[in-house]
């Protein structure tokens, strides 16, 4: 039953365009076009001279990527960022899961208050709270060293010692972010039907057993989701080192994005910086897929 669309029918069939077009235009111009642009730029030597006069632009093929592979600072930045992710993501997930379980407990009073208090750092401005953490981590006057020495531990030169600068940034990041995943996990916990716990209890399962056999298996999809979001978020580390350490000491907190920012907007090696951006994107994409595959395998067992 095909009908020739009359005029009314045609306008009906395209009536969404005027509504969708303005947003799509902006997304196209300010997001999709630059993504393609970044890929193209990464094959050029776009720099300050090309910015002044576009005729200085040359195609260089994969040269930027080859240079990247032999640039020690890039590897250093990638290493620093990996340390940040490996320390930060598990800590952050443990904090999120722990607090979500506590807030969700039947024994907890004032759930709303605790949820809000634990979530509050998420909505704060990173630059502002990073300044506060810089003060709390101060070697001489900082509260954290004050507490450490009171516990009989040695004071730590948090932001001055290249071994401790990244852990210090991890502390700030975990404090700032764990509330976000806590909210997602809390919602997943509330979706677990009460009968499942009752059935487990009837079989004589204790609290620990319930957690191992009922709660955690049912949380696997949500844990996968928050772990993917957190890994890709933590790989985009930038503002924390910019404010707290300016990449130091001894470049121990230069992250991949910090490296990209300096290459692009300090030295104006825009083609090279685009290659850095694309390598980071590819890395995040691969890790996302790996985690999805891993979670699927976990789900099958």
């Amino acid at each position: 039953m095909s009908r020739r669309p009359d005029k009314q029918g045609f306008s009906q069939a395209q009536s969404g365009w005027p509504f969708a077009a303005p947003a799509l235009l902006l997304i196209g111009v300010f997001f999709l076009l630059p993504v393609i642009g970044a890929l193209l730029l990464s094959f050029t030597d776009f720099d300050l001279y090309a910015l002044a006069d576009i005729s200085n632009l040359r195609l260089v093929g994969l040269h930027n990527y080859q240079t990247l592979l032999i640039t020690p600072m890039f590897w250093k930045a990638l290493g620093n960022t990996t340390v940040f992710v490996i320390l930060g993501v598990p800590l952050s997930l443990i904090a999120s899961l722990g607090t979500a379980l506590l807030v969700n407990s039947r024994l907890t009073r004032f759930k709303g208050f605790f949820r809000t208090a634990l979530f509050a750092p998420v909505v704060t401005t990173l630059v502002a709270v990073a300044l506060n953490w810089r003060y709390m981590l101060h070697t001489r006057y900082g509260l954290i060293n004050y507490l450490l020495t009171h516990l009989g531990l040695p004071a730590i030169d948090w932001l001055g010692d290249p071994h401790w600068s990244m852990p210090a940034i991890v502390l700030l990041a975990v404090w700032k972010n764990f509330g976000y995943n806590m909210i997602i996990l809390l919602a997943a916990l509330q979706n677990i039907p009460e009968d499942l716990y009752e059935a487990a209890r009837l079989e004589g399962a204790g609290a620990w057993h319930c957690l191992r056999r009922v709660t955690l298996p049912l949380l696997v999809p949500t844990l996968t989701l928050v772990s993917i979001l957190t890994v890709s978020g933590y790989f985009q580390l930038f503002a924390e080192p910019y404010v707290m350490t300016q990449g130091g000491p001894l470049q121990s907190t230069v992250s991949v994005l910090y490296f990209m920012f300096e290459q692009g907007f300090k030295w104006w090696n825009l083609g090279f910086a685009s290659a850095v951006a694309f390598v980071l994107f590819a890395l995040i994409l691969v890790l996302t897929m790996l985690q999805m595959r891993l979670a699927r395998r976990l789900g099958e067992v």
């Binding site: 509504f19 997001f31 630059v127 502002a128 994005l257 980071l280």
Partner: protein
């Protein structure tokens, strides 16, 4: 008896954790009220011996804090208003209206969610330079005015609007615009509050893009200006904390008033995975 002990344990640890979490924010306020130099002593003082508002006064009188505050307000407010209008229209179109290539375009958009915004920043800077928008409010606002996430959020919500309601309005002879204005928009209000607070908080707190695009000092937003001030006045800790309070307080207050809507946005946003 054992139950009572457990209740104490659970609520006690939560109280401790909540205090630990809130402590840096409370202390920030406390240090902001201390006289210059008071925070650089050992042991670190928890409360000001004598509270003073002088740092807030100095920030606004000498450090142009009022200007930065205004910049932040203009950027965040206009990004929010534009995002509400554009994403509401597009989200509704993707949910309820027909147009050629709709489903393909939507699939492309969803795939685009995987791409981190930082990938776009270098060409975007070049593009805005060509358009003459570097160091302008428009340069800070336009890239976040329409968003894939915003369209997604509105679409999910608009899918539940009953088709009969729209058809009834069409039979009454209402134009598509009129239907959008008087039937659809009122129904979308809850999700638009969610979207609005999301965009406002994100643009207010954003650092990397405004740092790149707002090159002139008097165009800077609060986070960018604060980071700059902190590099110049490393010693002046109390004033930096006052600046931090001015920056954080508006968004924290907004969140506390509208947190129900904000938390729902996080949950809706996480379903996409």
């Amino acid at each position: 008896m054992k139950q009572r002990a457990l209740i104490w344990l659970v609520n006690g640890s939560l109280t401790l954790l909540a205090l630990l979490t809130l402590f840096p924010l409370l202390w920030m306020v406390s240090v902001a009220l201390m006289p210059t130099g008071a925070s650089a002593s050992y042991p670190p003082p928890l409360l000001p011996a004598r509270a003073t508002l002088s740092h807030f006064h100095d920030l606004f009188a000498q450090q142009h804090m009022g200007r930065y505050f205004l910049n932040s307000l203009i950027v965040a407010t206009s990004a929010t208003l534009l995002a509400l209008l554009l994403n509401a229209m597009a989200g509704y179109a993707f949910a309820k209206l027909r147009f050629g290539g709709r489903d393909t375009i939507y699939a492309v958009l969803l795939a685009g969610l995987l791409i981190p915004a930082q990938v776009t920043m270098i060409p975007l800077f070049g593009l805005l330079k060509v358009m003459g928008l570097v160091n302008s409010y428009a340069g800070a606002v336009l890239p976040s005015a329409a968003s894939i996430f915003g369209i997604f959020l509105v679409r999910q919500y608009a899918l539940a609007i009953p088709e009969d309601l729209l058809d009834a309005a069409r039979i009454d002879g209402a134009s598509e615009w009129r239907i959008f204005r008087s039937v659809v928009l009122p129904l979308l209000v809850p999700i638009l509050v969610t979207l609005g607070i999301f965009v406002f908080l994100a643009t207010w707190n954003d650092f990397m893009w405004p740092l790149i695009v707002l090159t002139g000092r008097d165009m800077q937003t609060l986070p960018v200006a604060l980071a700059g001030l902190a590099r110049e006045h490393v010693q002046d800790n109390e004033m930096m904390m006052a600046g931090a309070v001015v920056t954080v307080l508006p968004v924290l207050a907004l969140f506390l008033v509208l947190q129900r809507f904000y938390l729902r946005g996080i949950l809706l946003g996480s379903i996409k995975g």
